[in-house]
């Protein structure tokens, strides 16, 4: 009886343990993955209640090296309502080394140093995001000694982390879109002030419009690129194009999706988009979208203050790079229009002219060249035949033979049935041709200098032997 009970307990214990291990080591499918292998199993025996006994009421502090006092109080509700709290993560899963008591020594220069040190803990569960962050402008700034550079907790907070991604769709939650500019504003407030007045920002902040970009749509999320580099500048039109060439979004607002095409067709766009990316570090001063439309303060084109549909406004933009530009100058830029008989007609008609003129001239030349070439080939062949094969069947080319027929004839010339044997007269005629010409001309000139040479040639012509 006792042995049997022991066996049952052992087996069930092993079962429970194995489930635990399977859960612990199974590959992750959610945004916050399971703990990594090297992560020690947290001391789950220490419940949040244990921590909150001390840290759950105002009071405990810690003296930092610079003399500041670090508040060690945590509002228990903050963590409980955070995404981590709701999922049941314990304090010691982030504060991994404080499970024992007394706490191990902790030295920090100042409050910022505390955050930077404790921030390391995020990577144990969110390693992929952490990897992305390493390439970001913030991580570089931090490496270069700028301790103000944003770390995980600056955006996500430490204890009140919110859910941002819908676990089903893996897409940003609608409410999270609204939080993003406010999050960035914590450090980039001056830019935020511009953004919230812009056509995009006002639509997001005012109306919660999901179509307009928030900060991350242009700058990325974790691997936020340095937007002051030449490379970012050269690639920036593609950022705008993501939405502005998408008819699904643009049709709602009656905005043209030809903006990228028309930009690329222009001198500025050609330079930026098609050639310079090959040398990504190239310093190129041709304007990108934001040089004319504004960076964070983009306004609708019909905005009376800054909209580019207003000639005065676009002239101001032109003059940034073309200081001497006058009022005629802005229309040198086609304003993203494709020339038509009503819009930019001069450009349209010149283009149309060349569309017909080039094929006409070049086609005419091609026809004449082909005629000359095939005729020369025919004559040459005839001349060579006249000295050679005499016994072959006579089949002279027809007078009216067109270019196509001549070509066919040339291709099939090897077949004996098609071979040509000119008469002796023809050969003689050909050979004497030049002498006759010279004689003719000399004679005609001696007779009368005013006589039209051409008419003489015509009269002198030998009847065709063919």
């Amino acid at each position: 009886m006792l042995v049997r009970r022991f066996a049952i307990y052992t087996l069930s214990g092993i079962f429970i343990l194995s489930i635990f291990f399977i859960l612990a080591y199974s590959p992750s499918v959610i945004a916050a993955p399971n703990l990594q292998k090297e992560t020690p199993i947290p001391l789950l025996s220490i419940s949040d209640d244990t921590c909150l006994e001390c840290h759950g009421k105002p009071g405990p502090t810690y003296q930092l090296q610079n003399g500041d006092t670090l508040d060690l109080y945590i509002n228990p509700n903050d963590h409980a309502n955070s995404v981590h709290g709701k999922l049941g993560y314990a304090c010691v899963q982030c504060h991994r080394d404080v499970g024992n008591y007394p706490h191990p020594p902790f030295i920090a220069k100042d409050r910022r140093d505390v955050s930077i040190q404790l921030n390391q803990t995020c990577q144990y569960c969110h390693s992929s995001q952490n990897e992305l962050t390493k390439d970001s402008v913030h991580a570089r700034a931090l490496e270069n000694g700028n301790s103000n550079a944003a770390i995980c907790v600056d955006c996500h907070t430490a204890h009140t982390v919110k859910r941002l991604i819908d676990p089903q769709t893996q897409e940003l939650l609608p409410e999270a879109r609204l939080w993003i500019p406010q999050t960035c504003a914590k450090c980039h407030n001056e830019i935020y002030q511009k953004y919230q007045e812009s056509v995009h920002g006002s639509a997001l902040i005012g109306n919660g419009n999901p179509d307009v970009p928030t900060c991350i749509d242009c700058h990325g999320v974790h691997n936020i690129e340095d937007p002051t580099t030449a490379q970012f500048r050269l690639n920036s039109p593609q950022i705008c194009a993501k939405c502005h060439t998408d008819p699904e979004i643009m049709d709602k607002y009656g905005i043209s999706t030809q903006v990228l095409n028309t930009y690329v067709a222009d001198f500025h766009g050609t330079s930026i988009l098609l050639f310079e990316p090959k040398t990504p570090d190239a310093q190129e001063n041709k304007p990108v979208c934001y040089d004319c439309h504004g960076v964070h303060d983009i306004k609708a084109v019909d905005d009376p203050e800054k909209g580019l549909q207003v000639k005065e406004n676009i002239l101001i933009r032109c003059q940034v790079c073309h200081p001497d530009a006058n009022t005629n100058f802005p229309s040198a830029w086609l304003s993203h229009y494709i020339p038509s008989p009503t819009v930019y007609p001069v450009v349209y008609y010149i283009n149309l002219f060349y569309k017909f003129f080039i094929p006409t001239v070049v086609g005419g030349m091609a026809v004449l060249v082909t005629l000359d070439f095939t005729t020369a080939r025919r004559k040459k062949r005839k001349a060579s035949k006249s000295t050679g094969l005499e016994t072959a069947e006579v089949k002279p080319p027809t007078e009216e033979s067109t270019v196509e027929e001549t070509i066919v004839e040339e291709i099939t010339v090897e077949e004996p049935t098609l071979e040509v044997t000119p008469t002796e007269e023809t050969a003689l005629d050909e050979s004497n041709n030049y002498n006759e010409r010279i004689k003719d001309i000399s004679e005609s000139q001696e007779l009368s200098q005013d006589t039209d040479l051409e008419s003489d040639y015509g009269n002198e012509e030998v009847p065709d032997g063919e």
Partner: protein, 401 residues
């Protein structure tokens, strides 16, 4: 053809056959070489800009190490083309004014007759081609196309080179219109050269006269029989040396003047305006790092509860030491009462823990708190300053408030 020549040489005087004629003098050959080079480089640097999406264009531009270099080269050879054009104008004027040669490049009615004659020849109506003079309609078309094309390219090029100056007087639309025409004309020119020029002087027979300057009598018979006849009938003759000298005396000052005018025009063309700034326009002008001042956290030190109107001495449990002990010792000697000691309240502090009363008013030495803190090894160690304050407070009778 070879047969013809073979038979012909037997018949004709051999000396006559070896005879050569000067077709192009040194000036013309230099003009042609420079034009050839400039045209080619202009096409190679220009057409990729007309067809920017093509991978060929992009690799060409890469070959020039970027669009800016390619544009600079395009500009340099545009200037070279204009220089050779000016040179050509002076050269032509010299021929007309001093040498008084025929205006052999001007199209005449005869050219149309020759054209229709040749059409007849192609379709077998005539036995031979028209007897061409010095320049036939093929050459005239090409020459005039080059002249016309250069004028169009120079004008549209000027407009694109100096858009600010141009739009002072003309509507802005003229700039993209010029760009369209410049590109269209370029395609036309390149295709014409490939089809028309390459066929007539390279493919049909390789005509070296533009490089060596001379043409054989056989080629003359073949290509320019009318001119040959004119020459051989002594119909063409240059003026006497003396006459040429006299005319040169008048011509050269005029030529210098014209060159000067054109030269200044060219400098004006190139240096008329500074179209744009050379620096990169500044993107975002706002300061990057402007943090919102964070709302201050509630004070870490809780304020003690006190009855309204009650005066609390600073050096008292309520005024100072409850908070100090809470902060510094509360982690263990608060709720958790490690070692039975809780410093949460005045009462519990006086009561002490396992080791005895933590605080004995008036007697720091008897106070276990002072005893243990004095060792300097307690986990929640007070600073010396703090400990001294505590000792002073105990000496003063450890007032509660």
């Amino acid at each position: 053809m070879e047969n013809n020549i073979q038979i012909q040489t037997e018949v004709e005087d051999k000396d006559l056959q070896r005879k050569e004629f000067v077709r192009f003098d040194l000036h013309q050959r230099i003009e042609h070489i420079v034009l050839l080079a400039a045209f080619t480089i202009l096409a190679v640097t220009g057409l990729p800009q007309k067809f920017p999406t093509s991978p060929i264009s992009q690799s060409i531009i890469r070959g020039f190490s970027g669009i800016e270099t390619a544009r600079s080269i395009h500009h340099i050879f545009a200037v070279i083309l204009l220089v050779v054009s000016i040179y050509h104008v002076i050269d032509v004027l010299y021929r007309i004014v001093v040498l008084r040669v025929d205006w052999s490049m001007i199209p005449v009615v005869e050219d149309f007759k020759h054209f229709f004659h040749d059409l007849g020849y192609y379709f077998g109506v005539h036995k031979h081609k028209a007897y061409y003079p010095r320049y036939n309609y093929v050459e005239k078309v090409e020459y005039l196309a080059v002249v016309w094309g250069t004028i169009i390219m120079a004008i549209t090029g000027f407009i694109m080179w100096n858009p600010i100056a141009v739009t002072k007087y003309l509507p802005g639309q003229i700039i993209p219109a010029s760009k369209t025409a410049h590109g269209g004309e370029a395609i036309l020119a390149v295709l014409s050269i490939i089809i028309w020029h390459f066929y007539h002087v390279h493919l049909r027979q390789f005509n070296k006269s533009m490089f060596i300057g001379k043409i054989s009598r056989i080629e003359m018979e073949e290509e320019h029989p009318a001119e040959l006849a004119q020459i051989e009938s002594m119909y063409v003759s240059l003026p006497e040396e003396k006459v040429i000298r006299q005319r040169q005396k008048i011509f050269f000052p005029i030529a210098i003047f014209i060159t000067l005018i054109f030269g200044l025009g060219l400098i004006w063309f190139v240096t008329l305006e500074d179209t744009a700034i050379t620096t990169i326009p500044k993107g975002e002008t706002a300061n990057i790092y402007v943090p919102i001042t964070p709302t201050p956290k509630p004070s870490a030190t809780p304020t003690t509860t006190q009855a309204p109107g009650e005066q609390v001495a600073e050096e008292s449990w309520d005024g100072k030491y409850q908070a100090m002990f809470d902060n510094r010792c509360g982690t263990c000697h608060g709720f958790t009462s490690v070692g039975g000691l809780s410093l949460a309240t005045y009462r519990s502090a006086l009561q002490g823990g396992k080791s005895g009363p933590a605080i004995v008013p008036g007697d720091p030495d008897a106070s276990v708190l002072v005893q243990i803190q004095s060792t300097g090894k307690h986990p929640g160690q007070l600073t010396i300053d703090e400990l001294n304050q505590v000792i002073q407070w105990i000496l003063a009778g450890a007032p509660e408030n």
